[in-house]
Symmetry: C2
Subunit: 486 residues, 2 copies
C-alpha cells in the first residue's frame, strides 16, 4: 500500500554496487549449478515470479535466479560465490511476509530454503528441537504435539511460513501476551554471514553471559545480517482446557481497565479486541452469530487456561467485578472447544472478511496504556479529512499492537484510494512517533516501511545498525535495501 | 581466582591508547568538576579503593578518579570529555559482580551511578516502571510490592546490586527457570554511547519489529558499549502461596527425570540442586536441620505456586510417581512460609557456609540434559589429579547452570591452591567447550574470564563483537579490556 522508498542518496563508502540482472552471466550460472546441482538453479519466468515475491503484492518481482540449497555447506559456498561476484542474495522462506522483506526486485539471487526442512534431535529434558530454516511453522507445532508439548507462536500464515523466516522477522501473533514473540523460543541458531562464515549462536543454552548475545541481533534482522541455516527451538508444556470469553465494552479506556483487572489475577494467553463495525462485517459475511445481543463500541476477547473449577470461578468473579464497575456491558464464555473456536473466529475472520474492500492496512504499536489516545487521534484525523473512509480496528491490544484497516469507499478508484492512504500513513506515523510507538509492531520493515523507519528510530540508532550490518556483511550482499539503505 | 589475562598482542587499528593514571592532569580534573561539581569528583585513596573494585577480590584497584553524575546530561558531558581526552571510563553500579567487570585497574575514570537512583512513572496497565541505573534491586522489588506486583529477578546480592549493573551483566539468579534473566524484564533502556550520544531503545514496547533490537545487544555487554542511564522495567503479578519441596535423589540422571516429570505438569518457579557434602556443611554450620534422615547423593529443591488444593495434589501425585520410579528416595514439602524459608536456606546458605575454606568458584552452564555427564567428567579429572580436593556442587540445575566449588585443603597454602585451580579451570573449560556450554552462565566475563572466552565463542564471533563495540564506542573508552581486548 505504501510507496516504495527510493534508495538514500549517500551510499556508505564500504558498500559495493550489487550486480543488476543483466550481469548474472553464464559463468556465474554455471558456478551456481556446480554448487547445488543443475535442477536446483531456476531461471524460468514462473519460478522467478513465484519465488521473487511475498504476500505484499505491491512490488514487481525481478530476481535473476533462484537457488535451492540442501545443506549448510551449500549455503556457505553460495554466499562465498555471491560475495566474490558482488551478487545480492535474498534469503527466502514461506514468503508470507507483509512488509516486502523477502521480495527480490533488483536482480537478486533468491536463496529459497525449502529443502532444508529437517526436524529432529528432540531433547525431552531441555524441551528443545533442532529445525532446518525451511521447517513450516505448522510442522513444528505438530511435532511438538506428538511429543506431548506445545509450540506457542501462532498466526494466520502458520501453514506456509517457515521457521527461518519467523526468526528473520521475529514473528508474533495471537499468543504474545503470554508466550512472547519468536525471539523468546529460539534457544540457538546457526547463521551464515555475508562472508560465508558459519556462526553457532547460543547452542541451546538458557544461561549464557559470555559476551554479546548476537542471537538476539539476528532475530528480527530480516536476513540483512546473513542466512539462518538452523535453529534450536524451545517447546512448552501444552495449555490445559483453554476457555474463551468475549466481553462487550463501551470504550477503549474500559478495555484497559478490564485488561489490568484480569491480568492481576489470571495468566491470560490472549487479549484481543475488535470494533462493532468489525463484528458487523464478520457476522454478515461468515456463518457466525453475534456473541450476545447487546451492542457496544468494542469487544474484548480473552483466553485463559482452566485446569480446574477454581480458575473459572476466578474469571467469573472478575467478570462480575468489571460489570459492576461499568467497564463491561455484556459477555459470554465458551462451554466447549467448539464454542471457543467459534468465538475466536469473530476475531480471526475479520481480515479475510474485509479483503473485498481492498483495505489499507497498517500494523503499529504503542505502550498498552497509550492505545486509547492513539486510536482516538488516528480516528480524528482520518474522519476529519476523509469522512467517507470506514475504519476497522482490531488487534492484539494486550500487547499494544493494533491493526488499522481502512476500507476503500466503493465510489473511489483504487489509485486515488492508495494515494490518499499514503497521506494517512504519514499522519499515522507522526502520531506513532508522538506516542513513542513502533512503525512496525510485528510485520517488520522490509521495503514497505523503510521510508518510515525514522519515525521509530533516530539517526544515531540507524547509523549503528548500518555499521552492525557491515560487521556481519562487509560486501553488502545480504538482502540489501531492506530495513535501510547503506 | 583466575589469573589476569594480559592484553592480546595485536590491537585493533581503530583503537586509541587510553590514558594511564599519571596523565589525568589538573586540566581534566577541573573539567570533570565543572560538569558534576567539586565534591562529586573523588580522588582520595579510600574512594579510589572503594569504587575501584567489585566483589571479585583479586585485582588491585587503581582508578585515577571517581565521578558521581546526577543526570543524563552530566553523563553525556563526561563521556564527551573522556572521548576527547582518550580517557577510559568504568561504569559502576553496586559492584557486586564476580567477574571483575566493574573493577578499574588501569587508571580509568570510575563513573558511579549511585545518585541516579530515581524510581517512578509507574504504569499500572503496562506494568512498567522507570528506574535510574542506580536503583538498588531490592528497592525495585519493594516498589513492585507496594503496587501489588512483583519483580522476579532475585539473587544473593539484591540488597546492593543496582539495576544498571544488573542490565550490564544480564543478572540471573534463582527464579530463571520460570521468570528468565534480567533481559526478559527490560522493556526499554537509555544508553549513552562512547561518543556521548543518547539512544532511547525500545521505549517500553512489547512488540517492536522496526529494525535491529539494539536493546538486547546492550543487555549483558558489561558496559563496553556505553552507560545505561535509565531503564523501563517490567513487573509481574505476584506469585500465590509458594510451596517448597526438597527431594533426595540417588544421582544426576534421576534429577533430570524428576525435572522433566514436574515440568510436564507444573509451572516450577525454581529447580535447584545441591550435593550431600554441601548439605552436611550447611547443617553443621548453620542452625538448620536436615530435611529428612535419608541420605542421598544429591538433593533437588523445587518451588511452585499453590493457589488452590488442586496444585498441591498434582505435586504430591508427581512425588509419588517419582518415588515409584526410583528417582526419589525421600522428600519433604513446606507447610508454612517459615518452613519454605528454612528449606530455601539449605540451598542459599551454602555459599556463605563454605567461605572459610576460600573456595575456588566457577559459574558455568551446559544444556540441561548434558549436566550429569558434565559433572561426572569434571569430578573424574579433579579426583584423579587432586584427590584431596573437596568438590561442592550446587546451582540452578533447572536452567543448566551449575556452580562448581572446590574447598582448599587445610594443608595447602593459598598460592599453591590458586595455582592448582588455574589448572582446574583449563580442564573445566575444555569440558565446557566439548559440551557446547558457556564459560560464564550468569556472572559475565569481565577481566576474570577474558582469557577463556574462546572456549565458548569462536574467533569469527569475537571479531564481530569487536566491530560492534567500535560502532557504539569508536574511541574505545567504554570499559576497555573487559570481555575482550580490541
Amino acid at each position: 500500500m505504501l510507496p516504495y522508498a527510493p534508495p538514500e542518496s549517500a551510499p556508505c563508502e564500504k558498500y559495493r554496487r550489487i550486480r543488476p540482472v543483466a550481469q548474472l552471466d553464464s559463468e556465474i550460472l554455471a558456478a551456481l549449478k556446480d554448487i547445488v546441482g543443475e535442477e536446483r538453479v531456476l531461471t524460468d519466468p514462473e519460478s522467478l515470479q513465484y519465488y521473487g515475491r511475498d504476500w505484499t503484492r505491491f512490488y514487481e518481482p525481478a530476481p535473476s535466479a533462484v537457488v535451492l540449497p540442501g545443506t549448510i555447506e551449500e549455503v556457505q559456498a553460495l554466499v562465498r560465490l555471491a560475495a566474490s561476484s558482488s551478487l545480492a542474495i535474498v534469503p527466502s522462506g514461506g514468503r508470507t511476509g507483509l512488509s516486502a522483506g523477502a521480495v527480490a526486485v533488483n536482480g537478486e539471487l533468491v536463496m529459497a530454503l525449502d529443502r532444508m526442512n529437517n526436524i529432529g534431535d528432540f531433547d525431552p529434558v531441555d524441551r528443545t528441537v533442532r529445525c532446518g530454516p525451511g521447517v513450516v511453522t505448522e510442522q513444528l507445532q505438530q511435532f511438538a504435539e506428538q511429543q506431548g508439548l506445545y509450540y506457542p507462536v501462532d498466526f494466520a500464515s502458520a501453514g506456509s511460513s517457515q521457521i527461518g523466516g519467523n526468526i528473520a522477522t521475529n514473528a508474533g501473533g495471537i499468543k504474545v501476551i503470554r508466550h512472547g514473540m519468536t525471539r523468546d523460543w529460539v534457544a540457538g541458531l546457526k547463521l551464515v554471514t555475508g562472508t560465508g562464515e558459519l556462526l553457532d549462536l547460543n547452542r541451546g543454552l538458557i544461561k549464557n553471559n559470555a559476551g554479546y548475545d548476537l542471537r538476539h541481533l539476528v532475530i528480527g534482522a530480516e536476513g540483512t545480517l546473513g542466512v539462518v541455516v538452523e535453529a534450536t527451538m524451545r517447546l512448552d508444556r501444552p495449555p490445559r482446557d483453554l476457555a474463551v470469553m468475549v466481553l462487550g465494552v463501551p470504550d477503549m479506556t474500559a478495555i484497559m481497565r478490564v485488561l489490568a483487572a484480569f491480568q492481576g489475577e489470571i495468566e491470560l494467553s490472549a487479549f484481543e479486541f475488535f470494533s462493532e463495525l468489525a463484528l458487523q462485517k464478520v457476522v454478515a459475511h461468515q456463518a457466525l452469530q453475534r456473541p450476545f445481543e447487546t451492542i457496544t463500541e468494542y469487544y474484548a476477547l480473552l483466553e485463559f487456561e482452566q485446569p480446574d473449577a477454581a480458575a473459572m470461578e476466578r474469571a467469573m468473579a472478575l467478570f462480575a467485578h468489571c460489570v459492576e464497575q461499568g467497564w463491561v456491558y455484556d459477555g459470554t464464555v465458551s462451554q466447549s472447544v467448539a464454542q471457543a473456536e467459534n468465538l475466536w473466529r469473530l476475531r480471526e475472520d475479520i481480515s479475510e472478511t474485509i479483503t473485498p474492500w481492498t483495505p489499507y492496512k497498517n500494523d503499529i504499536s504503542t505502550t498498552i496504556s497509550r492505545v486509547p489516545e492513539f486510536l482516538a487521534e488516528v480516528e480524528a484525523v482520518v474522519n476529519e479529512n476523509y469522512p467517507d473512509f470506514e475504519i476497522i480496528w482490531f488487534g492484539h491490544i494486550g500487547d499494544g499492537n493494533v491493526h488499522l484497516n481502512i476500507l476503500k469507499p466503493e465510489s473511489l478508484d483504487i489509485d486515488a484510494f492508495r494515494e490518499q492512504c499514503g497521506e494517512v500513513s504519514r499522519w499515522v506515523f507522526e502520531i506513532v512517533q508522538r506516542h513513542g510507538g513502533s512503525v512496525s509492531a510485528e510485520h517488520g520493515v522490509g521495503l514497505l516501511k523503510k521510508a518510515y523507519l525514522h519515525y521509530s528510530r533516530d539517526p544515531a540508532e540507524i547509523g549503528i545498525m548500518k555499521q552492525i550490518k557491515l560487521a556481519f556483511d562487509p560486501h553488502g550482499i545480504m538482502n540489501p535495501g531492506k530495513i535501510f539503505d547503506l
